[in-house]
Every structure is written in C-alpha cells, then in structure tokens.
C-alpha cells in the first residue's frame, strides 16, 4: 500500500487523483489523504506561470505537512488572458515522488462565458462567479462550470483525472524520463 497526499481537501480532486493513480498503476493499491496546503500565490492565480507556481508550492507544503508518504499531488486552477480578449481556465497538476522528482502536466483549457469573465474581472474568484452565474451553491464540489457547459461530456473530475494521468507519465515510464528506478510504483 502506497500513500498519496493530495494537497487539497476537495473530494473532487481526491477522487480524480485516486482514479488517475489507479489507471496508471492498476496493480498497486494507493491510500489517498487530503490535506490543506498553501499555494503561496493569490487565491485566483493569473497566468499559466503563477498557476504552475501555486501547484508546485502546494506539493512542497503538503510534503512538509505529511512527509511520510510516497507521492504528493496538487491541482491548481488559474486563469489566463488570451489574445481574443477572453479569459481561459488553466489548470496545472504537479506530482512529486519520494526522491524529490517532480512532474507537471496542464489540463484541457476552456473559454469562460462572457458574463463569468466580467464577474472575475470585477474581482470575484472563478468558483464564486460560477456559483453566481449558474445559480448553484459550491459548484466546485460538483461537476463545475465545465460540466454545465458541456452537459457533463467533461466534468471537473474527468479533467483533473486526465491531468493526473498525464502528470504520472514519467513515473510510469521512469527509464524514458531519466528518473530513479524506485520512483516507479514498484
């Protein structure tokens, strides 16, 4: 049994991580534990780089909080401006193994609806803007804006899960990424 620390207490993120690890390492059992970890960036990160920094910081902080584990994983959602004047979601996934090798992937992006863009530009976080616009409460713990906009063809969980699978590629293929053999979930 390996232990995975998720740098979040969101059930959606914990489930996404569990499914991602399960898909990439079907012969292994993983225990997932969520912890509140700091991102060290604003609550609503702006731009790909700041969002990536938030994911990396959360992984590092989770490791300090729970050093006795095998993997630490963080999902960080931010927004980025695009040339067409729209705001897009940007989500980074960072995973660190015991040796300190860390790897990242970026999830699929989508363009925010115009009115949500306006609310966010007015200072609201994306989660609050989603709730206000769609008239729901705490949509972050459900399928999120992406679920509503795609009629659940994609959900927050499926987007995070695919990001986790992509971020696990080097751990599944350690020889290709020059990482130490013991990092593979052997």
């Amino acid at each position: 049994m390996k232990t995975v620390i998720v740098a979040s207490t969101s059930r959606v993120k914990i489930r996404a991580s569990r499914t991602g690890f399960g898909q990439m390492f079907p012969d292994h059992d993983f225990e997932h534990i969520g912890v509140k970890a700091d991102s060290g960036v604003p609550e609503q990160p702006m731009g790909s780089e700041e969002t990536l920094r938030g994911a990396r910081n959360r992984v590092a902080h989770a490791r300090i909080l729970r050093p006795d584990a095998d993997y630490w994983i963080a999902f960080e959602g931010g927004l980025e401006e695009h040339d067409d004047g729209g705001l897009r979601s940007v989500i980074w996934v960072a995973i660190e193994g015991q040796s300190g090798y860390r790897h990242e992937s970026r999830c699929a992006t989508f363009i925010l609806p115009s009115e949500i863009t306006n609310l966010v530009r007015g200072g609201m976080t994306l989660g609050d803007a989603d709730d206000k616009f769609f008239g729901r409460v705490n949509s972050k713990e459900q399928n999120g804006a992406i679920g509503l906009l795609t009629h659940d063809a994609l959900t927050r969980e499926s987007v995070y899960m695919h990001g986790a699978v992509l971020a696990l590629i080097p751990f599944r293929n350690p020889d290709l990424y020059k990482i130490q053999e013991q990092e593979a979930a052997a």
Binding site: Q23, M24, L52, D84, R88, H103, E104, S105, R106, C107, A108, T109, F110, I111, P113, S114, E115, I146, L149, T150, H151, A153, L154, V159, H162, G163, V165, L166, A167, I169, P170, R172, N173, L176, Y177, K178
Partner: protein
Amino acid sequence: MKTIVVASTNPAKIEGFRLAFTRMFPNETFNFQSIKAASDVPDQPVGRDETLRGAQNRIAHARALAPTADYWVTNESGVEDVGADLFIVNWVAVTDGITFSNTLTASFQLPPRVADYVRSGMEVTQGFEAVFGPAAAKDGIAGIGHLSAGNIPRAELIAMGAITALIPLKNPDLYITTQE
C-alpha cells in the same frame, strides 16, 4: 445531417472530432469529411502562437476548399518550452462560420530523448519513432497512448480538447461571438 470538414487526413484526429461532436450534440447526426489543408507554418510548429496560426490557416483553407459544410475543425500540434522541459502544445480550432473557437488540449512533457531529437530539428512523430520504433509513434500525439499505458489514446486527448473548443458553439447565448 450536418457536415463537418476535418482539415486533416489523420484517422486519430478524425476519430477525436467524431467522439467530441457525438458527446456534445448527442441528438444530431453528422457526416465527416476529411481534406488536406495547408497550415502555412513549418511541419513542426514551435510555440503557442505559431501552432495556433497553423490551426487557423488550416481552417481558412478548409473553408475555401469546402465552403458548404456546417462546421470546419482542425487540430495542430506543436511544442513549447516550459522551464527547461519541452511540452506538447496542441490546439483544437473549430468554427461554424459564425463563431470561431480554439482551445489547448491537455499537455504533457516530452520524454527528454524525444525532446533532444525535436530540438535538433526532427518532428515530434519522427522523434518518437527514433526512440520507440514506428508502432509506438503511430498511436499518439507524441505517443500519448503508449506513454499513458493506453489510458489516454490520441483520439481521446483530441476529443477532450475538441469538447472544450465546442463550448461556445454549444452555448452561443453565453458567449459574445468572435466574428471574422
């Protein structure tokens, strides 16, 4: 029956778009046509901007070649630096002639040996072939099916990106459309 022109003859890309349209518009039927359309950028685009330009050019050419369709779609794959690493940057572009939408698919870091080949001038597919042999390179954008142990086939990666690109077309009232 609506006609979708895919500006690519790559079977994985066509399948990715078929999956996306079926999931986003389950009550409609679609006829898919595939055509070769030039990107007017190098075979291996570098950076987000050049890769996006390639996708937009393919769409424009596809519309000129097949002007009577309902949708024109394409996928253009490039590479970009993220710190010291080389990542895939993969754009999906779609239009119904009124709304133009493009999004990045999920992306991942290329294996360093493949990245070395690409930096020395090879295309990603060739780099993958050099490292894995022809079979592995075929199954994915940069062998994604191979690297993810079959969990994310190339068509699925494109389908997810295509679904997000179709959001403004599926929800036109929520988006101020970009006219060209």
